[in-house]
Subunit: 254 residues, 8 copies
C-alpha cells in the first residue's frame, strides 16, 4: 500500500509533476514502518567482530548442537557459556571441532585464529579472591581473550590476607579496567576500588553458604562500596563482565 | 547528510537518470532514522480520546501547576493522580478551574463534558473489601468513568463476611470486567475469581500492618490465587487497573 | 429435617391453614443451606465449554491417571499441565489416547475436534523474549487454542534487539489481547505495553540466574511498568495467562 | 558439696543445735540447683497421655530405628513424623510392628489401642483446599486422632468454588476448633475465619509455585486475615496444628 | 421477580393445582440468591455478645466519630483500637462518653456494665517480655476483659532473666490459654510453650531495631518454636490474640 | 503449703522420728519452686559491678526519668542509651546530675568515680570506617570505658583508603579484642579480621542508602567474612558490642 | 627502633664494615611498616585533579560547614552531594562563596574555573526515563561536568514511548559511555544496552511505589538485563555513576 | 629498578658521597612496594600453631587431595571441613593417613599428637538444642579440640524443656566462652545469654523447615537477643565459632 504511495511520489517526480523539495516533504510525512524499507540493524555496531554467544545452561546437548550449528554456518566464532563437562562431551560428539575448557565452562568454535593483542595494548586485569571463584574469573578472562583483548590474571588475592593484594599493587594501578570476582562478603572489590583509578567491574559470585544467600551478600557489598569507581554485574556473570570490560578497552584503542 | 542522499536520489529520478524502481530499491536500503522522516507516533492509537495524566505524588504544587498548564493548552482533558488535599488546594489556586475529589485524590481539568456511556453498555465493576481500601477503589472507579466507561461500585464486601459478597453475585456475573481492590490478606480477589468468568483485575492495597509489609501479602495472595482469570497490577495502583479495564471494555464496544 | 419443615409449610398452604403471604414469610426465615434446595453451581458459567484441567506438577503418574480417568468419564476435553516428558510417557501407558506436547508440557484428552476459530476472529498474540521462555509461551498459546481462541505467536523478540520487536508492530497493534512472556529483566512486557492499546497479560518466567531470584526480577519489573495497560500473573503461569486472555476474547465475540 | 551442707543442717536440727525455724531460713538461702534435689519435670503435665514424637525428616533410617527403639522401651505410644515411604519401609525392617501411612507420612508404634472418643465429644475439624494439601491435612487429622481427639475431615473445599465451602457450613459452625490447611494464596482460612466463632488454626502449605515462595504467600495471607479468630503455625506443620487443637479440645473436656 | 415465582408456586399449591411433592421439587430448583429469602447472617454466632470494633489507625478523628456514632445507635458496646492519645482527645470531644486508655490505645463506649467473670472462671494469662511490649499486651488484656473473660497479667518476664519467668510457673500451668507478647527475638513464647500444656497465642511485637525488621525476627522465632502448642497472630495484633483467646475460653465455659 | 511440708520434715528430724538420710531423700523429692526457697538470682554474676542500663529510644522523657530515678535509688551507676539531644535536655531537667554525650547519645548517672584501668591493662580497640559511623563507635567506646575497660580508638580508617588501616597495624595486633564498626559494605571488618588474631566484634551500622537496606548489606558482609575470628552483633548495636568485649577483657584480667 | 637499625646498617656501609650487597640483603629482611618510611599514598593517582567530595545527607549544616572549610583550605574544588535546599541555604550562610543547584542537590566551592572539555572530546551521555528521575540524572551530569568531562543529556525518553528513545539513536551510538538513570521497572537501561556498543552505567532510582520497593525492582531489572554491556551502581547513586563514567572517559583521552 | 636505586644510595654511602642522615631521608621517600623488601607476613601471628584448613564443600575429591597434599608437605596439621562421608572415603584412598569423623564431617591429617590442654585450663563449652544440630556442634567442638583448647559438651538442652538447660547451670557459669548452636527459633542462645556473664558465640543452624528459611529465623533471633553478651557467626559455621572461641581462650592463657 505504502509501497504504492512511494511509487506514486517517485513517478510524479519523474514526470515533473512534483518538485524534489515537495517530494522530500511528502516522504518525510510517511511513517517508516509501512515503507517496506530495509530493516535497520541497530546491532550492527555492537556485533562488529564479536563472536556469537549461546547461553547453554538449562539447554540439552541436542538444543545446543542445533543452535551452534546454525550459527556456525554464518559466523567464524561461536562461543557457548555455562556448559557442564558432561554436556560439553555430548556436544563435542556432534561438533568435534569445538574446544571446551572445563574450568571456565566455555566451549568455542573458531575458524582461523583471532589476532593476538599487542604486548603494550590496554589491558584488563581479572582478579579473584578464593579458588572457588576461579570458574567465574576464568569465564571472564577467557571471554575477554576471545573478544581479542589483552588480559592479566591475579587470583587468590582475597582480603583475608590483604598483603597478597598489596603485592599486586603496581599491576593494579596500570590496568585499564579491572574485573574483580569475589564471593563470600565480596570485600575484595571494595578494597581494590580504593586502590585504583580505573573502572572496576564487580562480579559477585554465589560462593559461600548460609547468610550468603547464593551471592546476595557479595552483590550488596559491591553495590554499597564506599569507593566510587565500581559498577556491578549479575551474580556469577563473568561473561557479562568481560563484554563490559571489552567495551571499555575497545574505546581506548580507537 | 542522508537528507542530501535523499535529495540526490530524487534529483536523479527527476533528471531521468534513475528509474522509479531503482529509486525505490535505493530508498529502501537507507536506515530510517537518518532520513529525517516524520517521527512515527506509536502512541496515537493508545491515546485516542484518552486524557493526559500526571502522577502528582512527590511533586510540588508548583511543578504540578506548570506541567498541567502546559498539557491544558493542547488537550481538553487532563487528570492528576495521587494528590493530597493540601497539595490540591494549592494547585487549585493556580488552576481554579480544576476539580478535586478528596477520596480518590484525583484532580481533573475538562473542557466540556465527556459523553456518558449508554445504560446497557458493557460495564466494569469495582469492588473492595474494607472502608480503608476505598481511596484506591475510587481512584479506579472515577478514572474508569473519566475514560468514558460505565462503572458499578460495590464496596465493603470483604471475605470476613462472605454473605455480603454472595449478595452481589448476580451483578458480579453480569460484569464485563471486575476491578477487585483488597488489602490485608487480599482474599476477596481469590473468592471473586472463583465466582465469575469475566477477567478480574486485582489491585492489592497497602492497607494493613505488621506482616502485611505494605501490601506485599495481598499482592502475593492475588498472584497465587487458585482461580484462573485473575491478573494483578501494582500495589495501590487503582489508576492502572482502570486503564486496563477500560482497554478491555473498549474492545467489547467495537 | 428442614426438608420436613418445608413440607409442613407447603401442606399447611395446601390445607388452607396458611395464607400464601404467611407461607412466603416463613420460607424467607429459613437459612438456605438447610432447605435441601438445589446447590447453586456458581461455576456453571465459568466452566461452560471449558475443558477440565489437572495441574500435574508434583503428582505421580498413578495419581494423574486416576484423576484424569475420572474426569474423562464425564467430560470431552481434559487438559493436564506441567507434565515432564518422563511422567507423560508413563501416563500415556495408562491413557494411550492422550496426546502430549513436550515443549508446552501439556497433555490432552479430547473426544472429537473442537471447532477452529474464524480467520477474522478476535485474536490473542503470544510473544516471548528468548528461546528459554518458549515452554511457558507455548503453554499459554496451546492452552488458548485448546480453549478455542485464535492465536498468533511471535517469539524471540526480546528488547536486547528492539528492532525485532518493532518489526512486529503492525501485528501487535491489531491484537485484541497480548500475552507477553519474559524472563531475565522482563523489559519486553514494558516496551510492548508502551506500543499498544489492547490489554497486555504479563507472564514473568523463572528464566535467568543470580539476582533474578527465579523470576522475581521479571515479576517486579512488570508490576512497575511505566506503561499502564499491563496486568501480571504468577511466575511461569502460562496456563493462567491463557485463561485470562480467553476470558477477554470471549467477551469480544459476544 | 551442698549435699554436705544440707546434711549438716539436718544433723544440727537432729542434735537440737538448730531450731526448725532457723533451719528453714538456712535452707532457703541455698540456691536450688546445688541441692541435688529432684529435677523438676516441668513437662509432666504436657506429656500426660501424649505419645512420644520423633521428627524423622533428614534422619537416616538407622537413626530413626535407634531413637524409636529407645523410646519404645519406656512408652506405649511412639509417633514418627515426616517419613518418606522409602525411609518408612527401611524403618519397618528394624521395627516390624510399626504402622505406616503413606499420605500423612506418619509412622506409629502402639501397645494396645487408645480409647476412642465419644460420639458427642468436642471435635476438631480438619479442612483443606486442594488435593495437594492432603498430606499436611492428614498429618494433622491422624495426629489429632492419635492424641485421642475426635476429628471430622472436609477436604477439597477451596475458595475457587466457594459453594463447596458453604455446603459444609453447618458442620463448621459446630466444630470446637478448626484446622484449616491451605496452600496457594491461603484464602480458605480467611473465609472460614469469617464463617465461624470457634478458634481456627491456620496451616499454610508449601503447595504452589513462583511467587508462592514455598508457602510464604499463604503464611502471610493467614497472618493478615481480616477475620479475627485465626492463629497460624509454621508452613506444612500439620503435626503442630494437631497438638495445638488437642490442647484446646482437652480443656473443653475437663 | 423470583418473589413472584415463589408466590405462583405457593398459590398453585393452595389452589390444588400443584402437589406438595411437586412444589418441593420446583422450589429446590431455584437458585437461593434469587428467592428473596432472608439473608443468612453467617456471623450471628460469632457476634453474639461481642462489641462492635473499629480499627482506628490511619483514620481521621472525624471518620472515627462518624463510624462510632452509627454503631453506637444500635449497639451497647463499641470498641476502638489503635488510637493515639491525640486522636483520642479529638474523638472524645465528639463522643464525650467515650473512655480512653493511653497504654492499650483502646477507646470504649458502653451502655451499662458488662458482668464480671466469676473468680474461678477459666482464665487467660497475658505475659510480656519488656516494658516496651506493654501497649500490645494491654491491648490484648483489656480487650479480653471487655469481651468478658477473666485475665491475669504477668509482665516484664523476659528470657534474659529466665528466673522471673520460672517464678510464674505455678500460675502459667493453671492458665487455660496464654497470650505471650514478645518483641526482640521473641524467645519468651518458645520457652513458655515448653513449660505449659494449654494453648499459647504468640504475639510478636515490632519492638526492637536493626535486624529485627519491625517484628519479623520475633514472628519467625515464634513460627519456628521447637515446642508444639504455639500458634501465632500478626505482629502487634494484641486485639486479634484476645479475640482468639476468648474464642477458646468461651468453649471451656459451655 | 510446701513451707509446711518442709517444717514437718524438719520437726520430724528434730523429734528423732526421721533419720537425716531419710529427711534428705524426702527433701530431694520436692520440686524446688514450691519450697518457698530464696529465688536464685541467676544474674548476680553477670551484673557484678555493671551499671544498670536503660534503652531510651522510643521512650518519653517522663518514662526515662521515672525509670532512672528508681534505679538511681539502689545503684551507683546508671546508663541510658540511644537518647536524642532533645530528649536528653528534657531528662536533665528532671535529673540535673545526669551527664549527656551528644555523639554517643549516652546519658550517665554516677556516684563517685569508677577506678581507671591500668595503663598496661588488656585493651579493646574501637575502629570505624567513616565519620557517619562515629555515633555507634562512640556508643561502644564510652560504654566500654564506663564498664571499666581500657579503650583505644581509631576512627576513619575505612577500606576505601586501605593505607590508613595499615598505619594502625601495630596497634591492631596488640589489641585484646577489636570492635569494628562499619556501615556501607562493611568491608573494614573483613579486612581487619584478616590482619589480627584477637577476637573481632563486628558492628554493622545503618549508614548508607539504597541497596544498603539500613545496614543489612554490612551485616551480611560481616557474617560472610572469609577471615574466621569475626562474630557479629545487631545493626547499630554499639552497646552490645561493648558488653561483649568487656566480657572478654574481664576474663583476661582474672 | 627500626630507625636505629637502619642507621646502623648505613653506618656500617659507610665504615666499610658491610658490603653493599650484604646491606641490601639486610634491608630487605626488615618489615616495611617499622622502617618509618614515607607512607605510601595509594590514592595519589585516583585523586589527581579530582575535587574533594562530601556526602552531606544526614549531616547537620554545622558539620557540613566545618568539613568543607577544612577541605577548602587545601583544595581548589570541593563538592557536596545530597544536600537539601534548606540545608544548602544554611550552609551558604557560613560559606557564601558556595554555589548550590537545587535539582542535582550539589553544592560547589571552586577557586578559578576548570577548563572546559574540547567540543570533540569523548563524551558521556546521561539519559533518564521520567521527570522524577531528573535529580539523580542531574547529580550524575553535573558531577561529570565538574570532573571535567564532556556531557550530553537526553531526559524523558522512557520505554513507555520507545520512539522517543529511538529518536536519540544516532547520538546514543556516538557516546563513549552512557549513564542510564531509570526508576519504576528500569527497562530503559535494558533497551539502551541493546542499542549501543559502549559501556552503559545503570543507575536505578527509588522512583515508584508499591512493589517497586524503593528502587529494588529497577536494580534487579538492570542486573538481569539480557543485553551484555551493562553494569550497575547503587540505587540513586548518580554521583558514583559519574565518577565511574569519568574513569572511562579519562582513559580514552590518554 | 628500585633495587638499583637502593644500590646507588648504598654505594654513595660507601663512597662517602652521601651522609648516613641524607641516605636515611632518601630511603624513606621510596614507596615500599618497589623496594623488593621482604614481604610482610601479616598473618604470622594469626597462624602460629594453627593447622591449615581446607573448606571442602563443593570441591571434588581430586581437588581436595591435591590441595591437602600440598599443605601436608609443609605443615604438621591439616584440617578439612564440610566433607561428606562419600567424599571422605574417596579422599582417604588418596590420603590413607587422613582421619575422618562422620558427625562433624571433619577430616584431619596430623604428624604427632598435639599436647592436651591442662585439666584446669580455661574451657569453652559447646551446647546445642536438638540432635539435628549435632553435626554443627561437633564441628565446633572438634575444631576447638584440634586447635588445642579444652572443651566441654552439653547437647540436647533446648528451650522446649528449659529444666534440662538449668541442670547445666553450674557448668555454664564456669565456662570461659560458650558456643551455643541452635536451629529452629534459636532461643537457646538467648536464654543462655541471660544466664551467664562469659562471651557467648551464637551459631544458628539451618535445621528446621518452612518459615525457618534455612537458618534465617535462628540467625535473626540471635542478633536480636535481649541479653547482651551474644555475638553471632554465619549459619552452620561451627568452624568459625571454634576459631573465634579459641581466639578468646588463648588470650586468657597468656
Amino acid at each position: 500500500m505504502d509501497q504504492i504511495k512511494l511509487e506514486e511520489v517517485l513517478s510524479s517526480v519523474k514526470k515533473g509533476e512534483l518538485s524534489v523539495n515537495e517530494a522530500l516533504k511528502r516522504l518525510k510525512s510517511l511513517p517508516f514502518e509501512n515503507l517496506g524499507f530495509a530493516r535497520l540493524d541497530l546491532h550492527r555496531d555492537l556485533r562488529q567482530g564479536l563472536p556469537e554467544v549461546v547461553f547453554c545452561q538449562n539447554k540439552t546437548p541436542e538444543q545446543i548442537i542445533t543452535i551452534m550449528e546454525r550459527l556456525w554456518e554464518h559466523h567464524d566464532h561461536v562461543l557457548g557459556t555455562r556448559l557442564s563437562p558432561e554436556a560439553a562431551s555430548n556436544v563435542q560428539k556432534g561438533l568435534p571441532q569445538a574446544l571446551y575448557d572445563p574450568i571456565s565452562r566455555l566451549l568455542r568454535l573458531s575458524r582461523g585464529e583471532r589476532p593476538l593483542p599487542e604486548d603494550d595494548a590496554p589491558f584488563g586485569m581479572v582478579i579473584s579472591g578464593g579458588t572457588s571463584d576461579q570458574p567465574v574469573a576464568e569465564e571472564a578472562a577467557m571471554t575477554l581473550e576471545f573478544l581479542g583483548s589483552r588480559v592479566i590474571r591475579a587470583y587468590d588475592i582475597g582480603v583475608s590476607g590483604v598483603h597478597r593484594l598489596l603485592d599486586q599493587h603496581a599491576l593494579l594501578t596500570e590496568a585499564d579496567v579491572i574485573i574483580s570476582v569475589a564471593g563470600m562478603e565480596g570485600a575484595l572489590t571494595s578494597v581494590v576500588g580504593g586502590l585504583v583509578s580505573c573502572p572496576v567491574v564487580g562480579v559477585p559470585t554465589s560462593v559461600g553458604y548460609g547468610a550468603n544467600f547464593q551471592g546476595v551478600a557479595a552483590l550488596l557489598a559491591m553495590l554499597n562500596a564506599c569507593a566510587p569507581g565500581i559498577a556491578v554485574v549479575n551474580i556469577d556473570n563473568g561473561f557479562g563482565a568481560a563484554v563490559y570490560a571489552h567495551s571499555i578497552l575497545r574505546r581506548i584503542n580507537k
